[in-house]
Amino acid sequence: MTTPSIEVEQAPSVQYLLRLADTALILGQRLGEWCGHAPVLEEDIALSNIALDLIGQSRALLARAGQLGGQGLHEDQLAFLREERDYRNVTMVELPNSGSVGPSRPGDFAFTVLRNAMMATWFRLIWERLRESSDSELAAIAGKAVKEARYHQQHSCDWVVRLGDGTDDSARRLRAALDTLWRYSPELFESDDVDSWAAANGIGPRWDTLREPWRSEMKALFDEARLPMPADTAFRSTGKRGVHSEHMGYILTDMQYLQRAYPGGAW
């Protein structure tokens, strides 16, 4: 006997929040996989701390999405009982920590810190804008989260510089990570009906308005880290519309097993 899946409200008010909430949730889940496996103890602690912040932010957003959805859904139901197509995270965060190294290793540290730097910069930019949201609850969540994202960004950018401007080996691995990750970044800056609705109603920014500030911060980071600014490609990922990579199902299997097998399980 397993728990049946829940239906999710398709209104843009809910979808806009789910995109943010799921992006934080899935990145938090990926970073949690490093717990006990990071190259040094300090980084093990740092990655787990960042994961905790992200999951905390996601909880607050899911709770708000549940209130707005009108079905009285709890944050845990939204986190654990949706079908894959109803998760609205961007594809970049669901890629395995091993990046381009392949599944033979538990994780590639260069890939992990570069993804964190790209995502933390994006999160910091969007949280700054969401502090002005006409939804006072969302503005309050953003007021807290923006300060946390600042630390995430600083920490991961420090590592990108250290690896990029480090040894030949660390620089080579960071470039390989950039090759893999860059093609997933356009999804963070494409607008559609959902964020257009949010902008028109003062809820939050259209995602395409984040593109230029993000690129200029990435350019400054890459210059410092001796990384080339990559060329854009025609590839477009579609996670925020519910169409995910082949990796998503495996994450959900890990995340959902307990609640599916033992409905309402708690400790």
Binding site: I45, D53, D158
Partner: protein
């Protein structure tokens, strides 16, 4: 029978007593500080039959939040002021500026460098191009210290090392 003025006074006394009780409720992760020292108690209100405590969470993912909520309820109930009810208030967001001066002194005595003011947050840059503000070692007082990691044993602390006395210490990060 109580008249309105007497009831106001009785409510004030209950609120006052509740604040005193909360001075004894400690943060489980930094047990040198009470929830009042930490500045997370935003308000205490007298209700018809109990006490409402308004708390603000420190970090979004802080696992201590739920423990603190329970400890507050238990302490108020145990003091006979209950039933206690806790409401969480997110805005305005908690800042380390709300840690009391007494709290900062207790942190230092406990071996954790207290947070510097809001200016230190603005000084945090995405890329480390400018030197960061020197943090004083809580053991020997030297400013000759270095950051080992922005993240320590809990979300709210960073790891530092004192170059003068060679001791590692934690720094309560400004937020």
């Amino acid at each position: 029978m109580m008249n309105a003025a007497m009831r106001v006074t009785a409510d004030e006394v209950r609120v006052q007593r509740a604040w005193e009780v909360l001075q004894g409720v400690l943060d489980p992760e930094v047990p040198a500080l009470s929830v009042c020292d930490l500045g997370i108690v935003r308000d205490v209100l007298a209700e018809a039959d109990g006490i409402e405590v308004v708390l603000t969470p420190t970090y979004s993912g802080c696992p201590a939040t739920e423990v603190i909520e329970r400890s507050v309820i238990e302490a108020i109930d145990a003091a006979g002021l209950g039933p206690a009810r806790v409401t969480l208030q997110r805005a305005p967001a908690w800042t380390t500026d709300w840690i009391s001066d007494d709290g900062k002194r207790k942190l230092r005595e406990y071996g954790i460098a207290p947070p510097s003011g809001e200016a230190a947050v603005a000084q945090e840059r995405p890329i480390r191009l400018i030197p960061r503000q020197a943090i004083e070692c809580p053991r020997c007082g030297s400013s000759n210290t270095e950051r080992l990691s922005a993240f320590g044993s809990t979300a709210c602390k960073a790891l530092y090392r004192c170059i003068a006395c060679r001791e590692p210490f934690e720094y309560f990060k400004p937020l």
